[in-house]
Symmetry: D2
Subunit: 334 residues, 4 copies
């Protein structure tokens, strides 16, 4: 049975989701909403969907689910509205930049018995899933140490940085979620170091462009996260998990799987350098998992709680940098 979607927000990530829905058997892009008429029109033209207002979508009987791709400061409100309207809701991370607002919002989700999935696309990457599956199959024994390397090809525009909540809430938040997924245990303490090495203007905006974070769980498992806002060789996305019986690593994805040898040595192409190409399969699998959860009535694969926890880890890391101390997660969670 086909599931009918509306995409709220026709920007970059809205386009990604629209394309995925159009190509997913059993899904239909019924409507798109965006205050910028040209953006909405582009999606409408591409996929034959209606252009409607958010109010119309909220009231529509023919829309079963919404994909929230609007600016971050509208996420929590929209989640609440559409949960109340009885729609299944897929929302891009983060739910909000304020932990308190996230908590309130999740209260509404609970109270309305809402169906909310928060978009942590990396959990649906085929290679990362193969890594997680290998761990679940016991191939490396008990997890001890996780190493996450995540580097963007280049920094985002200053305007984006200003409203992003900073590197930890915007970029590292994905790694915090991956850390929780790989550790299989909640984090107890957080230490972080931040630097401005890529662009001094980023520092002037009160942000960092290069960070390292160490997470530690109650049982002593640890995770390091290395982030940089620049990587000349593409979008660097690696996970390594060390366990009692071995290690498992997910490696990067290159533009092509070829190698060229010449007098200067052996050469492979750079990495895929855009999140949409690198995580193309993940975005498709993510929406498929959302549909499956909605239709089966089963649990959401990534929840509002996951969104909350990742944001809390970002808050703790910020506090660690600010106070030069190890921060306990109990300060942020109750």
């Amino acid at each position: 049975m086909e599931m009918s979607f509306a995409v709220l927000g026709a920007g970059r990530i809205g386009q990604v989701h629209a394309e995925v829905i159009a190509a997913t058997p059993g899904a239909r892009l019924a409507a798109v909403a965006d205050p910028i008429a040209a953006a909405a029109q582009r999606l409408s033209d591409a996929y034959g969907s209606d252009i409607r207002s958010i109010d119309e979508i909220e009231a529509a009987d023919d829309i079963e689910a919404v994909i929230i791709c609007t600016p971050t400061n509208t996420h929590a409100d929209l989640i609440e509205r559409f949960c109340r309207a009885g729609k299944a809701v897929f929302c891009e991370k983060p739910v909000d930049l304020s932990l308190e607002r996230v908590k309130t919002c999740l209260g509404v989700v609970k109270e309305t018995d809402g169906k909310l999935m928060v978009g942590f696309n990396r959990r649906f990457d085929p290679d990362f899933n193969a890594l997680r599956a290998a761990i679940d199959q016991g191939r490396i024994g008990a997890v001890e140490m996780v190493t996450i390397t995540s580097r963007d090809p280049g920094p985002p525009p200053y305007d984006y940085i200003k409203s992003s909540g900073g590197i930890l809430r915007d970029m590292t938040i994905h790694d915090f979620d991956v850390a929780r997924w790989m550790l299989g245990e909640e984090v107890q303490t957080v230490m972080a170091a931040g630097s401005v090495l890529v662009d001094p203007n980023i520092g002037k905006l009160g942000d960092f462009d290069s960070v390292n974070i160490v997470l530690r769980t109650p049982s002593g498992k640890q995770c390091t996260i290395t982030n940089s806002r620049r990587a000349s060789y593409g979008y660097d996305q690696r996970i390594e998990v060390h366990g009692s019986d071995g290690s498992a690593a997910a490696r990067n994805t290159h533009e092509a799987n070829i190698e060229i040898a010449g007098s200067a040595g052996y050469h492979r192409p750079p990495l895929l350098n855009f999140f949409m190409t690198r995580y193309k399969a993940a975005y498709a699998a993510e929406i498929a998992a959302f549909i499956e959860a909605v239709q089966s009535g089963g649990p959401m694969p990534t929840t509002g709680h996951d969104g909350l926890m990742a944001l809390a880890l970002a808050e703790a890391a910020l506090a660690s940098i600010g106070d030069e101390r190890v921060v306990n997660m109990s300060e942020f969670l109750d």
Copy 2:
């Protein structure tokens, strides 16, 4: 402008093409034909296309192009009929197992000014294309030696082997085409060795399961092709090109891009072991190239002539094994 397709033959490869057409923007699967009603129905159900007879499709005004996925011995007749009917024709290799029949058929294509593309999917593989592009960019200098390794995970059923024309006409034919593509020069002489190492029954059917072929061009470029009908580790598909200034290699595609280390060492998953998963992107690119060529009126990316040349190389290799000699291509081409 959308292009309307009929798929003739709803077997395994017919399903591959139907799925590709359904997912290709600008293409529509209007009809499917198959003498086995259940097979046709399955495709019709999956993609909402009509079920029609071949005669109906031939006469239909609303069908612009056909994909011929019927048994090999019907290919040449269907190509002729549909070229005469003014449809664009995509035909799976080979055109026919008889060189003479291929030549007659191509005569009809020429005479009717037909649009014929013969399906050599590997020419559309992204990695192989990156390899070819690197060569075209001069990164390894002048091509000298090509090494093609192609091993199937396991042998096909005996019934398939009986009607396949043997490993050289059925399996190596793809490698012959890749050889011509990579050498950039027609082959002059062919030497081949065949063995039965995988299954003695294959030998009883008059076929081989393990072959090596050496091709040589007039200017002295050489190409070796290594084929086996078994590979426990998946579908082994590699190309290496050695040139005056370096070498370039396209590597295999694994099930996942992870590596697991344990007391027994480092372990990566096996290769994708099915042609449909391994060449999924190639099948999509192949149909996109066909549509582009038909709509632009430009030349077909892989032609009937390519089909003829690959088959002639197979004939020459068979003669080389049979007579234990180096065979000159002039014996088969005029």
Copy 3:
């Protein structure tokens, strides 16, 4: 001109150095000293060197240099004695477990104008040197982030742990030195997390078996060090340096450079799992560099100061774990 050596201490690392000296053109193992007669005899038999007491070696005119491989608590005294005796001194790390004792000892070295090299073998590993050379050639731009992974195949005996000063002073000390070498700038702040995941008895001895450390320099460069006392797949020794224009990585060394593919996938042998085989070339290059420095009168490639700095970093990391805070190096250095 041949240089005449005495090895003090005929244990495991003494044997390594004796073998290296015997195989080094221009070096001669003249004498060996060890309170355990059998140990001294074994080296004497193997390399035809005299057995002498430390006093005799101190007084000997025919000994130009000593290699100190005795227990750690004797290092500082021996360095002082042999510097005063005018011998060139190569001493295994650490100079002492007490920062104060190291400082006093280095005072004596300075006062006697002594020639002291402290053994940080990794600085002489060919692959790590190729990495450092690539950085020096500007191939990755300015260094920003260093990632050091260092895992032992298994924990040492409890007795060793008791007198080792703990994992940070014993094992991580090598990584601290590599960090300084790769960062090219002294460390300003240290954060560390320690866990007991491998063996609870290690915790009972007051030590850790799994640690992560984050170092930060005044200019904001960072380095993470990941250590574990177990790695089922061998001796895991990797360095990755991320810079403004790219990244460079030194990879592990496997038992053999082969790969085997089968139905379970692709398999490479485990890593060399012993420091003597993994760093065989480094130990040889280290002694060659010592000889070169002594004979040329040039600076020692790794000095007492390097030993002091690495130990100070270990002290800071211990303080960070103990106090759950970021530690400033100024607390340990004056």
Copy 4:
């Protein structure tokens, strides 16, 4: 008990062996002979060995074994002389360029119960041995197809080519030996193709610089050998063995085990590009195996028969190219 050696011929390969003997425990380089006084003097100076004439060495009581590194056309005579003199003989390949002369010489070896080892250094390479061991352990099942890639960094001087017997007798001879080792069964038929692609002057000397050879055994196993006299990226030396249960491959050795990523992609250093560095460990293991065989009285690891068989394969390949046919080894062996 120490074994006393003389090296006959102090050229490039003589120096390799002299250095190995000097560094081998239990071996002593007692004497060196060379008609060029300066060459002999250089070895004598480096290793403290006597300079003697071949006659003196033949008559010497203190010489147990000789290493023949003289020009090829003297090998057979020297083998006969020193076998008659009761010395153990290690001779560089080939025994002679004439199959008949080799057969006569081996007759003398047999008649004198001589100890003769022919130097096929690749059989002692650690990686190739690990490959052979994996096969022996049954890790790939029964051997079916062997692929040997062997490319020199550049062609030798014309003068060398003139007296070398051509690429097949000089370069491919090593691959023929490896083929026999990996196939584990003697070759029955040989097909070969030769081209001149690197340097037309090589063709004017009647030689080829680029060859492919296909070998086939009575049971149907096959081996392809790909040779080129140029490889801009170093000394390309690979073996891949395909079996009923899997495949095993020995990979190339790079100058350093590092990888550098930048905007142009990922880059590894070129291969070791000189046989002495690439096969350094093999040369040492080869002499150790010779000493072990002489002292234990066991069989030689690589024999005169191996030398004969490799040369016969070269002859067959030449006949195949000349006559454009498949050649049966029975034409060359009786």
